[in-house]
């Protein structure tokens, strides 16, 4: 497929890797923010193409993974109600809450449905006026315009039976949380291309300046990631700390203005709890007062629910790049994609799932 296959060309990948090796003079640690990039890196073995001095640390950019147990439990409580049709992206269905997951609610009679787009849930609400349709809106800045549009359209259509259980999270505060941690080892970031396709590059400039870290907006194919790494190393080796855009075929400097406008219309920036990290100020999006009628937490009275995280799952450390998935004692034994302890083992963007899928054999052999 055009714009896909050519970015997986092995010859070109080796050339970029050779260039990275040529200019690298000392050890560097880079963090790829997005879980989609983590999967590409592990799947294509990009980390193994790089010189040993370069360490790729997997970041917190899997939206499913950073969703706190508390919110999953709220989803389970709402989904179990007889009047509710609970709609979600497929990734969330098997994420464990403190006692169950959405699929087990479905198995015990709850109407839980997987949808492709938030607009499918709006359509369902129109078609089934006797039911309450709730959409589980989880995701970064890439997904926020899609749930914003769902709420906006529901409001325009006067739908009273549609609501959103919202847990949108923002990348820049997460990067700052990583950089502000006392034992932070990250010296440069590959920023998430699709997040920046919506938000643009400008909001990363103050972070690059304040912490003196290169931030390179990067795509998701092997050549994108290798070029992003190369651009980071070029900056690090020459002492620069700038925001650069590797993914210019999809990311404009200013981002997608119409999408930003609708997100701003429907949502406001709020504090948000991150799984394993805790609350980060101004790190999420919640519905504005004008759209409060679409807030499922209030509609179903679950806003006050508080739940502690499980202690056995070390996903918090994985999400902050402090340990690699296979360094968790439960990895591949008590925690597998069939019986996950945490979301990082479930999601198609989770680091633990990536290691389990593509790195399981050598890891088990080494254990």
């Amino acid at each position: 497929m055009k714009y896909l296959d050519e970015y997986r060309d092995a010859g070109a990948a080796h050339k970029l890797a050779q260039e990275i090796a040529r200019i690298t003079t000392r050890p560097w640690s880079l963090m790829e923010v997005c879980g989609g990039q983590t999967h590409a890196i592990v799947k294509f073995g990009i980390d193994e193409l790089l010189p040993k001095q370069i360490t790729l640390i997997h970041g917190p950019g899997c939206p499913v993974c950073v969703t706190p147990v508390e919110l999953i439990d709220k989803a389970l409580e709402i989904a179990a109600r007889p009047e509710v049709i609970f709609c979600s992206f497929g990734d969330m269905l098997r994420v464990p809450g403190s006692k169950a997951d959405l699929l087990s609610i479905k198995a015990s009679g709850g109407d839980v449905r997987m949808v492709y787009s938030p607009l499918d849930a709006v359509k369902l609400a129109e078609q089934t006026p006797a039911k309450e349709v709730v959409f589980f809106g989880v995701g970064f800045e890439t997904t926020a315009p899609t749930t914003a549009m769902a709420v906006y359209q529901a409001a325009r259509k006067g739908l009273k039976n549609f609501s959103l259980l919202v847990s949108h999270v923002l990348v820049p505060p997460a990067i700052e949380a990583v950089l502000g941690a006392p034992d932070c080892r990250v010296q440069a970031f590959l920023a998430a291309g699709h997040v920046c396709a919506v938000m643009g590059c400008e909001e990363y400039v103050p972070i690059a300046t304040k912490y003196h870290v290169p931030i390179v907006v990067t795509g998701f194919e092997p050549l994108d990631i290798l070029q992003g790494v190369l651009m980071c190393i070029q900056q690090l080796e020459s002492g620069r700390a700038e925001v650069e855009n590797q993914y210019s075929r999809a990311v404009r400097q200013e981002g997608n203005r119409p999408a930003q406008q609708l997100v701003h219309e429907v949502f406001q920036v709020v504090p948000r709890k991150w799984r394993g990290i805790g609350e980060i100020a101004q790190s999420g999006l919640g519905l504005r007062d004008a759209y409060a009628a679409f807030d499922a937490e209030h509609k179903f009275g679950v806003a006050g629910m508080r739940v502690e995280e499980s202690s056995e799952c070390l996903s918090g450390l994985v999400l902050q790049g402090k340990i690699k998935p296979h360094e968790c004692p439960a990895f591949g034994t008590r925690c597998t994609p069939e019986h996950p302890l945490g979301a990082t083992m479930v999601s198609s963007e989770g680091a633990c799932a990536a290691y389990y899928r593509y790195r399981r054999e050598p890891i088990i052999a080494a254990a």
Binding site: M1, Y3, L4, K15, S117, M149, A250, P258, A259, E349
Partner: protein, 94 residues
């Protein structure tokens, strides 16, 4: 790709994902016309792929080659990644 809808917020189009056709909202890409490639996320086109910018990594590689005599280790293509992917255009759909 085919495009329908007069209201900019309701504008949608058919997009070809390597053979699978899907109706996608074009509300956020008012500039898109039939034949463009778009980045799609959960049913929404979020960005138009810029053809000139898409070539920059290959131009960079060519410049690198002119500066050195690196060996080519042969081309290979890996299977398609799951998740968000650029999409291909299709002839207008009836």
């Amino acid at each position: 790709m085919s495009i329908s809808g007069d209201d900019p917020l309701m504008r949608s189009g058919k997009v070809d994902f390597g053979g699978v056709l899907r109706e996608v909202s074009l509300a956020y890409v008012p500039e898109v016309i039939v034949g463009d490639y778009v980045i799609v996320h959960v049913g929404f086109a979020l960005s138009r792929v810029d053809e000139a910018e898409a070539n920059q990594v290959f131009e960079y590689l060519r410049e690198m080659e002119e500066l050195s005599d690196h060996q080519d280790s042969g081309a290979g293509v890996s299977p398609v990644l799951p998740g968000v992917s650029p999409s291909a255009p299709a002839s207008p759909v009836q």
